[in-house]
C-alpha cells in the first residue's frame, strides 16, 4: 500500500466536508481509484465518476494514470473560472 494526498474542490469538497484527505491505496493503482475509494464510504460521490478530471502533482492525467507513493492527487470537478 502507498499513501497519497487527495485535494478536493468545489462541489466534491462540499460533499466530503474537507479540502484534503490522505488515502492508502495499492501501489500502482490508477488515479481514478482515489475517487472510487472515497465513494465507497460516500454514495453521493458515485455519480461524479464521469464528471471529473484528475491531476497528479499539478498536471492533468488520464484516469488510468498509475500512482506512486506521496503523489499529490487532485479530483477536479468541471471548472468554471473566468
Amino acid at each position: 500500500m502507498i499513501t497519497i494526498s487527495v485535494k478536493l474542490f468545489a462541489g466534491i469538497k462540499d460533499i466530503v466536508g474537507k479540502d484534503e484527505v490522505e488515502l492508502s491505496v495499492a501501489d500502482a493503482s490508477p488515479v481514478a481509484e482515489a475517487l472510487a475509494s472515497l465513494a465507497e464510504n460516500n454514495p453521493l460521490l458515485r455519480p461524479w465518476k464521469n464528471h471529473v478530471r484528475f491531476a497528479v502533482n499539478k498536471i492533468y492525467v488520464q484516469p488510468d494514470h498509475l500512482l506512486k507513493s506521496r503523489d499529490e492527487v487532485a479530483i477536479i470537478p468541471p471548472v468554471s473560472g473566468g
Binding site: 485535494k7 474542490f9 492533468y60 468541471p78 473560472g81 473566468g82
Partner: protein
Amino acid sequence: MIQIIRDKININALLAAVADPAAGGIDIFIGTTRNHSDGKDVLELEYEAYQDMALPMMRQIADDAKERWGVMKIAVVHRIGKVPVGEASVAIAVSSAHRKEAFEACRYIIDTLKKTVPIWKKELFADGSKWVGERP
C-alpha cells in the same frame, strides 16, 4: 504578470504591466459577475482555485499565446474569494505591435482559461448557492 488575488482587480496595474513603447495596441478582456443566472438573481459570486496548479497553467497559456501570435506582453489576473456583482473576476491584457494579434491572443487566453484552469465559481442566491458547471 500572472496572479491569483483576493482583492479587487486593478486594471491600471495590468495596463502598466503590458505597456511597451513598441506596442501599437492593447486588448483587455474583463470578466464581470452577472446579476442573474437561469432567471434567478445572483447576489454574489465566490471563486475557489487550486492555486498551485492554476498559476502554472495560466503562465503556460500566456506563453503559448505569446509564441503563437508573437505578441509582446501578457497579464492574466484572476480574483478568488467573494466577488460582488459587477466587479471583475478575471482580467487579461495583451500588448502587440498589431491589433489583430492582440485580439486573437486575448480571446485564446480567456477561452482556454475557462475550459482548463482549475478554478470554480459558486453563485449565491437569496435561497442558497450553487457551484457552476456541469454536474451529475
